[in-house]
Amino acid sequence: MTSENTNSPRAVGEASRSKKTRLPYYPGCTLKTTAKNLEDSALATAEALGIELVELPRWNCCGVVTSLTDDDLMHHVAPIRNLIRVQEMNAAGLADGETRLVTLCSMCFNTLKRSNARVRERPEDLTSLNDFMYLEEDYDGSVEVVHFLEILADLGAEEIGRRVKTPLTGLGVAPYYGCTLLRPKEIGIDDPERPTIQNDILQALGAELIDNPYKTVCCGSYQTVQDKHAVAELAHGILTHARAAGADVLTTFCPLCAFNLDNRQREIVERHPDFETIPVLYATQLMALAFGLGPESCRFDLNFVDPRPMLSSKGIMKEEAWATRQA
């Protein structure tokens, strides 16, 4: 199997200066509902960078959480069916022969890429899956599942920096990764122990990078359903360490991490009355602001801890821009 990490960084930046690069895009259910703030800000950011993320005309659940058991192929049906949709999109002339499928939700990224890796490694599994989906055209293994962060890294900090209209000067940003972008390492987009892929981007936006070792500590994931207080304790550790290191906000690309780090601050405050809440943002929300795209594309109303007071205190947002809308 060819590693998707060696995917040659095609000249997206070059293209963005002349004409838009169109890339097939898989949103996932959360980006259409509770994480609309990730989708809207990412689509706006991409457009400003000359990239058009073209949503698959037809898509289903990513399969959420890869099936790890050897004989359970049923749960690979959903992810592989989505990859067939990329082939269909190309056949319909909607994707310029582009085989990369861009994801934004790190959970969707993880699930789709792992299923893709599985069927590439085990052709007999691909045959079984294709046979089961006999109404669809066969999946040929050609799709490369990528994350939007990889597209940004390919573009490079210089290209991103060129778009900045409102630098995030004086804003301490702690990048947070969680696990699904990084693990297992065969499909991860960066070093699973010491990821840095957000660093250049945040610095290009003019932010003060607050790198800290808690960036890969588990957020508690789905335990949030079973035991919200256990998750709140994990989040408490991650947030207080980021704060102690000088962070004003944290950034993530995972809607589940965002929920656990952001929404669980309600439970943290109950147990730790001295805890000072801290905004948790999708990195693309900060990018959209830095690019001067306005708060409309950021959907800050979906963030649990309102980041707007912090952002306006740093002069990154105008206070009336949100105060009037709130009234």
Binding site: C29, K32, T33, R58, W59, N60, C61, G63, M74, H75, V77, A78, R81, F132, M133, L135
Partner: protein
Amino acid sequence: MGNQTGMMERISESTRSLTTGVDTKDVEHWVMIYIMGRGYRVPADLTIMTAMEFAGYRLIRSCGCRQGFCGACATIFRREGEYKLESALACQTRVEDGMSLVQIPFSPADAASYDIASEAYAYSVFSKHYPEVARCVSCNTCTKACPQDLEVMDYVQSAIKGDFGGLTEQSFDCIQCGLCAIRCPAEIVQYNVAQLGRRMYGRYGSPEPAHLKARIAEIEEGKFDEALDRLAGASTEELEKLYAASERESDG
């Protein structure tokens, strides 16, 4: 529409049970079908429904409009030599030689009760009333079962995405026969999920049609009171004459 009477006669003719007035001497092509395991020789050009009647079944349930609209005649069948169980509407599907079949008159499926006015117009309405939608593994079995050729899996996915407009569009021709729910390995009641979605879209999502608003105002002003009184007092013969001469208005 001058040919209205002729059309009504043709519809009435086509829905008449073929078991009456068929002279078996005139039937050229015959097939064997197996209704609940028992073999019957029936004329080859009958639908499953009329073939059952030819075989002597009197349909009290599993039979409604005979036009493919009501969804009452859900049928499970298998072609000779095939392993696949397929599904169809008995009134819309012709018998084939060697076909084995049974009718499913009713699906005792869960239908949530809710007050549409107090539900939030968000995807959460589905997880609240039909949480099993989240269990969809995208196997597409529901789509294969649908006698209306709907993309059932795609409308379930639209529910998960909170796309009420898409769900309405994709499920609009559902006749609620229940075959999708019977086949679903995730135990989703697709057709009731879709009905909830369409109701939500109708109430909160779709734009209010201007012509409907105008017509309601006209009704309230009493514009049609006199005409209605006239109809209410008309004889059956007069009504039949009026119906035959009526023209359908455009939907505007």
